[in-house]
């Protein structure tokens, strides 16, 4: 049966974190009967535990809903849930490119937030029809009319018809579906052209291989076709096409222009099905790919090492598997004198890093040591060459450096006006350059700063949240590289540089930081057989030092008669304790000491 294109609506939901995106998605599923009430668990679309716990969506998961509208017609609504965080802008942009419209949710108790704006602008860039929805009207502090006005003033969207809903209770959520049908245009679709399908996501399934989520823009695709990835050139035979439902996928005989669905083709890795790539067929290839594909570039880097060296292979397998689902994750093997074998990993941002780290620890049961995150620095050498460095280990001899550059961001912080002082203090501490401040409403401000990226990749967001009791929101984009006074700090234990603890820092911050690191190490390294000098240096110059005194007593003095086994067991027990130790030459450093240094933050 031919699909009636005029009855298709492809849309996504955009919102600031916690404004209720996933909850509204759940309601829409429920109303359209996509999922029986008894099967509902909150936030059904967020597949990963982590997503549910953090209340954020990391990976977009499409779902097709059948909806009988007030006009009596049956519509196919393709909901593409999108990640809400700035780290995942590219994924968001690809999801948006698969849609004709977007529901913009704004929290009636919070109003416009940083990502409300960022995501709206992204959606507008993709020419999407935006359907504003004011959510959380059930809360006592909700002020739907004020927030609607704010949306009109700040974003310029007409909110007179915007549904005022409670995604939690379901109140007025039906109106959202009607608005989708009414306001969002059906796809412009031509089945007769050569196939062009946009990959907006892919997930790895251990049975089927990679499941590729696509929006067919033109042409069709069916099982048996030879599909070709236009960016990579890889070809596969389509095994199955179908629609994603809330629970089990539903195979179909073909996917046609305008539709959203999935393809399986025994694809082994997601790097063969990159988000943003265009699928065509080998039989009748399109001449041009769809616009907008780019390989995503990691912005933040760190070393990830197994706490137990024996887990190296497991870590590699886990990274490999995660990469199957996350083309934005990059990793390459790296060896640290301090931490042994591990990987230098690249991430879109700090949230991405944290998510990957947590997934490695939870889903793969790995115990990890993560080094201090770094950005990409540009180092101009005296001989005129320029180095790009994301790993302090590769920092050149300071005497050969003419100048250094670091990436800056344009950062916007949205906050209740009462926190302006503390936010500006924070930005100032983080070497921020104040640009301007706008009052969005008399109570809420948009503070615009230029901030070095390396100052925000580390706990900036946490500090901001704690200083503003969670009320401030934050968004940034990379602007440019600027010359900066950078130095590399080295931690020297017993005369040996601990490479894993080296990091690049602004010269003005080096001294206080060095003192704190030295103290932290002293407090966390247990006494050993020898005295251990701890030194923090820049180049050859020591700028802080501490000493761990030698341990005096550690002996099984008692004679247990001939019970040698007991002695052995006592030693074995002690050996177990040592397993979590890292060796630097003759010095043993417990994991906790590392963590204590790596987790040093502003409050210390």
């Amino acid at each position: 049966m031919a699909v009636d294109k005029s009855k298709i609506r492809n849309f996504c939901i955009i919102a600031h974190i916690d404004h209720g995106k996933s909850t509204l998605a759940d309601r829409l599923l429920e109303i359209t009967g996509a999922v029986a009430l008894r099967d509902m668990t909150a936030q059904l679309l967020d597949k990963m535990d982590l997503e549910r716990e953090r209340g954020i969506t990391i990976k977009a998961h499409p779902v097709k809903l059948n909806y009988k509208a007030a006009d009596g017609e049956e519509y196919a609504l393709n909901l593409i849930d999108t990640p809400g965080h700035v780290d995942f802008n590219y994924e968001v942009s690809r999801s948006l490119a698969a849609c004709e419209g977007a529901i913009l949710i704004v929290d009636a108790t919070q109003g416009v937030e940083a990502q409300t704006l960022a995501n709206t602008y992204l959606a507008l860039d993709h020419d999407l029809e935006i359907v504003p929805v004011i959510n959380k009207i059930d809360l006592p502090s909700a002020d739907a009319e004020r927030v609607a006005q704010e949306v009109e003033d700040v974003i310029g969207l007409d909110c007179s018809e915007a549904p005022r809903v409670s995604a939690k209770t379901g109140e007025n959520c039906g109106q959202v579906l009607e608005q989708i049908v009414k306001l969002i245009p059906p796809p412009a679709a031509d089945d007769s052209k050569p196939c062009r399908a946009l990959i907006f996501d892919s997930v790895y399934d251990s049975y089927k291989g990679v499941i590729v989520y696509v929006r067919i823009v033109e042409g069709k695709l069916k099982p048996g076709d030879t599909m070709r990835m236009m960016a990579t050139g890889a070809e596969f035979t389509v095994v199955e096409t179908g629609y994603m439902r809330a629970q089990d996928p539903e195979p179909c005989s073909e996917l046609t222009a305008g539709e959203v669905g999935y393809i399986t083709a025994s694809i082994k890795t997601v790097s063969d099905a990159r988000v943003g790539d265009t699928v065509t067929t080998a039989q009748n290839p399109a001449s041009e790919p769809l616009p907008g594909y780019r390989k995503v570039n990691p912005m933040v880097f760190c070393g990830i090492y197994p706490a137990d060296g024996a887990d190296y292979e497991n870590l590699r397998d886990a990274l490999e598997k995660l990469q199957l689902n996350d083309a934005a994750l990059s990793y390459e093997p790296e060896t640290s004198g301090a931490l042994g074998f591990g990987f230098r990993c690249g991430f879109l941002g700090l949230l991405h890093l944290e998510i990957i780290q947590e997934r490695l620890e939870r889903e793969y049961d790995l115990d990890l040591i993560t080094t201090i995150p770094s950005v990409i620095y540009k180092i101009n050498l005296s001989d005129g060459t320029q180095l790009e460095i994301d790993n302090p280990t590769h920092y050149p001899d300071p005497s050969t450096i003419a100048s250094c550059e670091e990436p800056f961001t344009d950062a916007h912080i949205y906050s209740p006006a009462e926190y302006v002082g503390t936010i500006m203090d924070l930005c100032q501490e983080r070497r921020g350059i104040f640009k301007n401040m706008d009052y969005i409403t008399p109570e809420r401000v948009d503070i615009h700063y230029e901030l070095p990226l390396n100052e925000i990749i580390y706990d900036f967001f946490d500090s901001l949240k704690s200083r503003t009791r969670g009320y401030a929101s934050f968004d940034y984009e990379i602007s440019e590289y600027r010359e900066s006074k950078l130095v590399k700090l080295d931690v020297i234990l017993n005369g040996d540089v601990v490479d894993a603890l080296s990091f690049i820092i602004h010269a003005d911050k080096a001294y206080p930081k060095a003192r704190k690191i030295a103290e932290r190490l002293k407090d966390n390294i247990p006494r050993q057989m020898f005295e251990i000098p701890i030194q923090i240096g820049i180049g050859g110059k020591i700028i802080a030092r501490e000493t761990v005194k030698a341990m005096r007593k550690d002996v099984l003095a008692k004679c247990y008669g001939g019970d040698i086994t007991r002695k052995k067991k006592l030693l074995e027990k002690q050996k177990e304790g040592k397993k979590r130790m890292r060796h630097f030459g003759t010095v043993e450093v417990p994991q906790e000491a590392f963590m204590a240094v790596l987790k040093l933050d502003d409050n210390d």
Partner: protein
């Protein structure tokens, strides 16, 4: 010290005590006549069944003297032993030094006992009371005299370091007492608070010397005894030349010994096994249970480094047909640089300072094997 002693030693554990000392976690219990008789019968049965000869015999406990001198002599008579066997009986001064209770060391010496190990712990009565010792230093002195009068000159005294209230000075008093008493051997243990003991329960309230003080006491004891002609031949043991405990050396040399009595450990035919800590099962004749394989290179080194003679390369090579790894010797040199070891071209050993951190030192060294 012979290189490898093929003749095994015999250890007999006597699990009876007058009272439980507050720091002790050895297997022991109060005794009654019936239990004692059953124990003696069970032990006599086992001893009679042993075919091999022993060149050391050690009655440990508990307080073996609680068996009574005649019973000890009786059990010893059942042991097939070499002419020159070293035969030790551990004694408690409370039971043997008391004028009212007669304990005839002459019976022991007549039966062949030639070494007595006396649980002195301290020559300072307040410290002895802290340790639950009922007898005063007077009884200890009497015991020593009686032993010597019975013709046994090889006396070992146990001394405890780190007793609540002990100071370096009071320890000195104890050590002087030991030297002056004519003891040929001194075992100086650091008090370790073991789980399940009374001390463990009240550890917070004990006026225990600090770690640094105990270390200083240990080093001072080593220094003082060496000045008085004693060899610091094992972590906790000192002896005048020729009076090292041959029986205990079997443990450190990874040589074989048969252990009899509840909780007693054996190392025979390459296997370690032990009797459960259960006198009823022992009396019923239940056999010892397998514990672990013994005498692999790691264990050998662990034990060798407890001795001042240390790890002797030739002996290691002869025993295991391989060399002590260079890495290990390198690490020993690092220890030497820090005053914790002494390295020659034939062996390396820990110094008294090194003994104090021997767990870590040994663990790191055998980690390089």
């Amino acid at each position: 010290m012979t290189m490898t002693d093929k003749t095994p030693g015999l250890y007999i554990h006597v699990p009876f005590c007058r009272s439980k000392c507050p720091y002790c976690d050895f297997y022991s219990m109060p005794v009654n006549t019936e239990l004692k008789e059953k124990y003696i019968a069970a032990t006599a049965g086992i001893l009679s069944s042993l075919e091999q000869k022993f060149n050391t015999v050690y009655f440990g406990g508990g307080s073996p003297d609680m068996l009574g001198e005649e019973n000890i002599a009786y059990l010893l008579g059942l042991v097939n032993r070499t002419e020159d066997a070293e035969i030790t009986v551990e004694c408690n001064p409370s039971g043997t030094g008391c004028e009212k209770r007669s304990f005839d060391f002459g019976v022991l010496s007549g039966a062949g006992v030639n070494r007595i190990s006396l649980g002195l712990q301290s020559a300072v009565d307040t410290e002895r009371r802290q340790l639950g010792r009922t007898a005063g230093i007077k009884e200890a002195g009497t015991a020593v005299k009686k032993i010597q009068e019975a013709g046994i000159d090889n006396i070992s005294l146990d001394v405890m370091l780190g007793i609540p209230g002990q100071t370096e000075e009071s320890l000195r008093t104890t050590l002087e007492y030991c030297v002056n008493s004519g003891a040929k051997h001194i075992s100086a243990y650091m008090l370790k608070i073991e789980e399940g003991t009374y001390f463990h329960k009240v550890a917070d309230k004990l006026n225990l010397p600090g770690e640094d003080e105990v270390c200083d006491m240990y080093l001072a004891a080593s220094e003082f005894l060496r000045q008085n002609g004693f060899l610091h031949y094992e972590i906790s043991n000192f002896a005048l030349p020729g009076y090292e405990s041959r029986h205990n050396l079997k443990y450190w040399h990874c040589e074989e010994y048969e252990g009899i009595g509840p909780s007693a450990h054996s190392f025979m035919h390459g296997k370690r096994y032990c009797y459960p800590r259960d006198i009823s099962s022992y009396i019923e004749g239940k056999p010892p249970v397998y514990d672990s394989d013994g005498a692999d290179p790691k264990e050998y080194i662990m034990l060798a480094l407890r001795l001042s003679e240390g790890l002797v390369y030739d002996r290691f090579r002869q025993r295991f047909s391989k060399e002590v790894p260079d890495k290990m010797i390198e690490y020993a040199l690092l220890l030497e640089k820090n005053g914790l070891a002494r390295v020659t071209d034939k062996q390396f050993n820990l110094t008294p300072e090194g003994f104090l951190v021997s767990n870590t030192a040994i663990l790191n060294l055998i980690g390089l094997l």
